[in-house]
Structure formats: C-alpha cells, structure tokens
C-alpha cells in the first residue's frame, strides 16, 4: 500500500572473510503516535516495526524499531563477507507496510 523507496549500501566486491559495513535506509515518516494535530487529536502511530537482513537467505541481522527511531530509518551494521550472492533487506511495519530491497555481493 505504501509506496516507499529504500537505499542500501553494500560493498560490491569485498574480500572473503572481510568484515563489511552495510547501510540500509528506507523512506518512512515514522509517525510516533504521540504527536497531536493542532486540534489536539492524536495522530495515529505508523512506524516500521521490523527490519531483517538475509544473506543468501539466512538471517544475519534483525532490528525491532520503536517510535524513538527517527524518520527515514537508517541502520548501519556489519557482516563477514562469506560468499557471493544476494543480500536482502525487508522492512515491515504498521498499516501493512512492507518493502523489500536487495543487493548483489561478489566476494573476491
């Protein structure tokens, strides 16, 4: 339902065994559920709840997000470059939010 765009950064050609840094950002307002309209009505919460990163299908990193995460959530983490393949990123959240992005990795 939501149209969203994700930006991920994965080193394309790391050496085998190298620890690489991965950045994953997705556009999302992360509406906290604590803000109010100028009339005083609560603006309903609408956040990304979970982020998962899979390396050739195996989960290597997962995050549970709360309203204190800033808009357009950015997560930076590391993994060991073990093999070539695909790194997949999945964001899911309130109101059926779901975005999937992936990046190729070629280990040299």
């Amino acid at each position: 339902m939501a149209t969203a765009s994700a930006v991920v950064n994965v080193p394309a050609n790391p050496r085998r065994g190298e620890i690489i840094e991965i950045k994953a950002l997705v556009r999302h307002a992360m509406e906290t559920g604590f803000r109010r309209t100028q009339l005083g009505a609560v603006i309903p919460r609408d956040i990304i709840r979970q982020f998962v990163c899979l390396y050739n299908g195996v989960e290597i990193f997962r995050a549970e997000l709360h309203p204190s995460i800033a808009a357009n959530p950015l997560l930076t983490f590391t993994t060991v470059a073990t093999e070539s393949g695909t790194i997949e990123f999945r964001w899911t959240g309130d109101k059926g939010f779901s975005v999937v992005e992936s990046a190729r990795i070629t280990v040299v």
């Binding site: 604590f34 309209t37 009339l39």
Partner: protein, 729 residues
C-alpha cells in the same frame, strides 16, 4: 572557617591532588598531570569562574552572552561581590562550549534567553566567587602560618589582622589554585552587599565607542572567503536549479554552492562581490504548496479559531461560559497581533572552518551550547573535534538562541571548501525574510456583567500560532497537544502567572499553525497577551463606568506585587490628578519572567493621527536589582522595542513569502519619537529572582493604546498602528 576539603569539586580537571577522591567516585583520572588548571596565558584557575593573574587582574568567566543587555557586567558583579576583588582589575572571558563539554558542563547552561542570564545563575556564580575567595585566604593563611579566621579581604588584598601583613590575590593565586575547593560556601546576606545593587560601570563600553569592538560581521581570519546566501523565500521551498556559470567569472567569485535543499550561496573574495554575484545568479525554486498562501488566508484561519469548539485551556476559575450566558450585559472585542521580525542591527552571520579533522565556528550566539550542538549535527564530527568561539552580539532579541540556522548554513558551505574559513553574512533582506517571527495571534474577549455592573465572568480565546509546537514539539506532546507558553502573562501559575482573579474565568487557545516559522521574540507571548488583556481591562472598566486603575485593583487582592508596581506608576504619573490640557493617560501591568512590571504614559494626538508620547513611567520589581543603571537602560530601551512594534512593525505574507524586506517597509523608532522614560526600580527581595531584558516590552503597547483611546475615543484593536493611520511623532 574553611571546611576541610574532602571531595574535589573538580575531580575531572585536576590531577594528582584529587586522584583519591576522584577514584572514589569511580571517575578515571590521569595518575599524573598538572595539579593546576591554567588559562591560555598560564595564569592559574582558582575555579572555573575565576582566574587570577600575577598582576592581580581578575578574569571572570561568563557562560552567558553579551548582546547589549549588560549581563556580563551583572554577572561579574555577582562574582566580585563574593570574591571581594578590586572592580577595576576585572576582565571577562567566555569559556568555549567545547571546553565546557570536555569538563562535564562545568559552566552550566550557556543559554541567554528568557531574561535568565542572571536570574538562573546568580546562586552558582556567587558561590564560585565565594569559593575562590576562601581558597585565596586559605593560601595566604598557609603562607603566614596563621589561622584563616585572623585574615580578612578587601579589594583583592588579604590582610592578617594581628600582624597587619598584606598579600594581594595575585601573589597567592598559584598556591590557592592548588587547594581543594571548600565544600560549603556561605553567601553574603544581601544587606551586606557592596557591589551588587550598585550602578558600577559596564565592562564593555570603551571598544564600542571607538569602533574596535569586533562583531561576527567584522571577523577576519587568514585566507578567509566571504559568502552571501539566499534561501527559498517561500518557507519550505527548495532549490530546483541554479545557473552557476552565469556568475562564475565575475570578479572575486570563487564558488557557487548549494546549501542543503533550500539555499544557494556564492563564495567570493569579498562579501560585496559575493552579494553582487548572488543578486545576478538565476535560481529556480520549487516553492511548494505554501506559495499559494496569502495573508488573508492566515487571517481568516485565525478568525475561525476565535469561535472554534475545541481549544486548549490555559487558565480557568469557576464557570466562565455559564457566567457569560447569564450575564445582564456583555462586552466583546476581537484583537490581533501580527508577525514581527527581531531585526537585530547586526544581521545573522557565522564563520566556519571545516576539515575532516576539525570544525570550528565563530558566531554571535545567545547560546554557545546550541551553536555547538548545531556544529556537531552539521559537521558530523565528534565533540572533541568541534569548537565554537562566541562573539559579542550586535543584538539578539531571541533570534540567535534557539535557532542556529546560520551556523548550519556556514558549516554546510565550509564543508564544500575544506580548510578555507568562510564568513557567511546575511543581507538585511535575507534577515527579514528568513526570520523566526513573533507568532501571529488573534484574540476574542468577552466580559459579562450582572445587573449591578459587577464583572461576573471573562472568556479570553486566543487563536493563532504556537511557537513550541514547531520548536520544541516534545513539550507540546507531553501536554497532550497544548502549548503552555501561549499563556505567558495570563497563566494559572508560574513565572508568567496572571495578575487578576475574576469570579469566573476561562482562557483558552485554538492553535492555528502556519508555514511561517514562529520564534522567540523578546518577551515572547507576553507581548500580545498584554495587549489583549490590558486593553480589554480598560474596555471593561469603561463598561462598568469605573476608572481603569480603580477597576483593576478590584481583582488584584491576591497579587500584591502586581498591585505595587501598578500603584507606583499611577502615583508617579499623577493618575488621580488631571493631566495637562490635551494630554491623555493609560496604564498597563503584567508579571513576566518572574518580574512585575507596569507602565503609565501620557500622550497627545495632533491632526487626528499624530501621536506624541510625552512621558512614560515604568515600574519594575525584579526581586533583586543587580545593576540599577543597566536596568534603567533595559527599561527605556524596552519602549523603543515595544513602541516600534506597536506603531510600525508587521510582517505580512504574499505568495507564501514575507513581503517586508528592509527598514523602508519595516521601520523602527528614531530618537525624535522617543518619549521620556522614568524608571522606578522597586526590588522586594525574596527567594526568586526576576528577569530584566524582556518583561517591560509588553506593557509599552497597552499603556499607549489605552491612552490613545482616552485621546481619540477609538479603540484600536490591532497592531501596528500604522495600519490605522497613526504616526508616532
């Protein structure tokens, strides 16, 4: 006399002497290191507030910023009172925010807003002076090998009574700096004050009359370039494109850079070259939906809020709506207060130098820590690689505290030219259209009377902008959407509490936001609230057939300090005696920033529209008056600020942007229009210290508007008066 030192007061700064105490606290301290913290010139620091040079010069450190209000002189008086130093030997310096962070905020809050420079730091800066004195005395006593109880201090000299030996502070400063600070530091009883309460001369006058004072605008650094900037004139708009090639070859131009999403800057050898090129630079803006907003849309939105069902309650007693429904007579009025710009004489500016290893900013700022926070955020560097150097301000008035947009811009530009210091100066036009404006507000007031003409209820409905909703939304969220600051001056409690009690009262706020960014404008929300309530009090008095001062007094039984300042101005102006022929009077009073203020004025009107204000009497009860001469100047200056706003100043929106771009359309008072201002400073002591810089502004406009009604029979209910054809002469 001196307490046995136990735990170091600065275990994080000193080395060997404090290691034991420091470790006991779990702090890691270097096992070796200098025992004495030294200022840049090598002089010993007695404590964070006081450095004493061998020649007896006393350096007093100031975390707050001087912007004309005289705060550094007042703060120095507080330290000097307890330090018992020689006033003529005092100089001051600003510690840097970076140093403060390193030393765990040793200097506390840097914020210089809310009239709080002195009132929220008087306790700890006095203790800093007192502790330093105790250490100096201890050092002298140690040298003489006598008890401290036999030593006394006067004007920076320690005397051993029995032997009549003397040592100046400079002679024992080294030894004193090696002592640990006393734990309990008694402060003088105010009745023994010798420096506080005196009109001692300001510390910063001389360079201001010779042109030597360096403002941010005047800064020169080796290899420095100058930048002129233009941000989207429609708030929220973005840069779509710009044609740098068109100006790239102009003389002196070094670089054209985009600054964030919203602005473009030209960097050149001189600022005039940069500005000339910027004026010729074609920029296409994506102005966004706000480009459609006109002033009439805003006014209509606020007007609708006056009768909206929902509003946030700020102050309530009894049941005002019921009382009004059953009233025998009702009085109703709608008031309006516009957007206004601070217009500091020195436009916004900041100078930045960025490398991957260091980001430094020189800036006139009301809050060094806010500037530092902006540097951390914009540079992306850690705190130990950032620094801010504060420069005295060419006016602040609330524009240079909570908002550090110019700092962020300067860093953004400097990051695009690593290693080169870049001085970003705003033109007056940029300063006018990129303000953080006094919030726009309308107000509907309804008062009800019973058959005997007694006031039975009052409803004050505010409709307009919340500052905090935009600037500190966390506070508004905690208050379930309400902005408590909107009710300054009419609040149910606190430092801006209402000075009247009515049988039934309701003050509420229909929040109506706009794309025009609101800010803290000297006095903040007391300005419009004083106009609304104090003018309406006169309307109610008229409806009740009573004298305005007499009418007010009925509701002030629980507010003796409000009443005292009101009575003081009424007495001094001769309220109960007839005014000279053709001269008319008005009054107003309010509590703001924990001070109580009132004003009375005398004016006459010629040709139906030329207003001459002959005389203003202003009373202030700030609890404590640290420097009466500077208070007088703040009070008389407040009428320049407040009456300029009343007569001349309004920022309006056309096509989403601010129309008024300079003093030709946004004027400010000149000396010919300045009334004679008599100040009554009447501090009543107590536990709470009040502010000085802001409170008096708010009584200027209602006192004059009330007198104007007496003179003309016209109730003017919207600011500025130029829109009603009135001129200040």
């Amino acid at each position: 006399m001196i307490n046995t030192p136990k735990v170091s007061r600065r275990s994080f700064i000193v080395g060997s002497a404090a290691v034991g105490g420091g470790l006991a606290l779990g702090l890691r301290l270097p096992p070796f290191g200098p025992a004495v913290v030294r200022a840049a010139d090598g002089s010993p620091e007695i404590n964070v507030w006081v450095v004493i040079r061998p020649d007896d010069t006393v350096v007093i450190r100031m975390a707050r910023s001087e912007m004309g209000q005289g705060t550094i002189t007042g703060l120095a008086q507080l330290v000097a009172e307890e330090l018992e130093c020689n006033w003529s030997k005092i100089v001051y310096e600003y510690p840097t925010p970076g140093e403060s962070v390193k030393r765990k905020r040793a200097w506390g809050d840097f914020s210089t807003g809310g009239s709080r420079g002195i009132r929220t730091s008087h306790d700890y800066v006095r203790k800093g002076g007192a502790a330093a004195r105790l250490m100096l005395v201890q050092a002298a006593a140690n040298q003489w090998n006598v008890p401290v109880s036999e030593c006394s201090t006067v004007n920076g000299v320690i005397t051993h009574g029995p032997s009549k030996r003397k040592l100046s502070y400079g002679k024992v400063a080294e030894a004193a700096a090696r002592l640990e600070a006393p734990k309990d530091v008694p402060l003088k009883d105010p009745k023994n004050w010798k420096v506080i309460g005196k009109a001692v001369p300001r510390l910063d006058t001389r360079d201001k009359v010779t042109g030597k004072q360096v403002y941010g605008f005047d800064l020169k650094l080796p290899g420095m370039l100058n930048a002129a900037i233009k941000e989207s004139p429609v708030f929220g708009g973005k840069v779509k494109s710009y044609d740098a090639a068109r100006v790239a070859s102009m003389k002196g131009v070094r670089k054209v850079v985009q600054v964030g999403d919203t602005a473009v800057a030209v960097v050149a050898d001189t600022w005039w070259q940069a500005k000339t090129a910027l004026d010729q630079l074609p920029v296409v803006w994506d102005e966004g939906p706000s480009a459609k907003v006109q002033q009439s849309n805003i006014n209509d939105m606020l007007k609708a809020g006056l009768d909206a069902d929902q509003a946030f309650v700020g102050n309530q007693e009894g049941d005002a709506k019921k009382a009004l429904a059953g009233a025998a007579k009702k009085v109703e009025a709608v008031y309006a207060y516009p957007w206004q710009n601070h217009v500091c004489m020195e436009p916004m500016n900041a100078t930045a130098r960025y490398t991957a290893d260091k980001c430094e900013v020189w800036v006139p700022t009301q809050d060094g820590e806010a500037s530092f926070a902006a540097v951390l955020a914009a540079s992306g560097l850690p705190a130990d690689k950032c620094e801010v150097y504060k420069i005295n301000l060419g006016g602040g008035f609330g524009r240079r505290g909570a908002f550090q947009d110019y700092v962020t811009q300067a860093i953004n530009i400097a990051k695009q030219m690593p290693g080169t210091p870049v001085k970003l100066l705003w033109s007056r036009e940029e300063d006018m259209v990129q303000g953080r404006y006094h919030p726009i507000m309308q107000c509907k007031l309804v008062g009800g009377f019973d058959a005997a003409n007694n006031l039975t209820g009052l409803h004050m409905r505010l409709s307009g902008q919340s500052i905090l909703k935009e600037v500190r939304p966390a506070i508004v969220e905690q208050q379930k959407g309400r902005d408590p600051l909107t009710f300054q001056g009419v609040a149910d409690s606190g430092e801006h509490s209402f000075g009247y009690n009515y049988p039934n009262l309701l003050i509420d706020h229909a929040m109506r936001q706009s794309h025009v960014p609101p800010g803290f404008w000297r006095g903040v929300n007391i300005n419009q609230n004083a106009v609304f309530i104090e003018c309406f009090m006169d309307e109610l008095a008229e409806a009740a057939g009573k004298d305005p001062v007499e009418f007010r007094r009925q509701f002030m039984a629980k507010h003796p300090r409000n009443l005292a300042v009101l009575n003081a101005v009424a007495d001094r102006i001769g309220w109960t005696r007839p005014a000279p022929a053709g001269v008319h009077r008005g009054v107003a009073q309010m509590k703001a920033f924990n001070s109580f203020v009132a004003a009375a004025c005398e004016l006459s009107v010629k040709d139906g529209n030329k207003v001459k204000i002959h005389r203003i009497v202003a009373a202030t009860d700030p609890g404590y008056a640290v420097n009466p001469a500077q208070i007088e100047r703040q009070v008389s200056g407040s009428f320049v600020y407040g009456l300029s706003a009343l007569f001349m100043q309004e920022c309006t929106v056309k096509g989403g942007r601010i129309v008024e771009e300079n003093f030709n359309t946004y004027n400010s008072m000149r000396i010919a229009q300045m009334p004679k201002v008599e100040s009554i400073i009447m501090p009543t002591g107590g536990a709470i210290w009040g502010g000085i810089g802001e409170p008096t502004i708010c009584v200027a406009a209602p006192a004059v508007l009330n007198a104007l009604f007496q003179a003309t029979g016209k109730r003017i209910r919207s600011v500025p008066l130029k829109n009603h054809g009135f001129q200040l002469v």
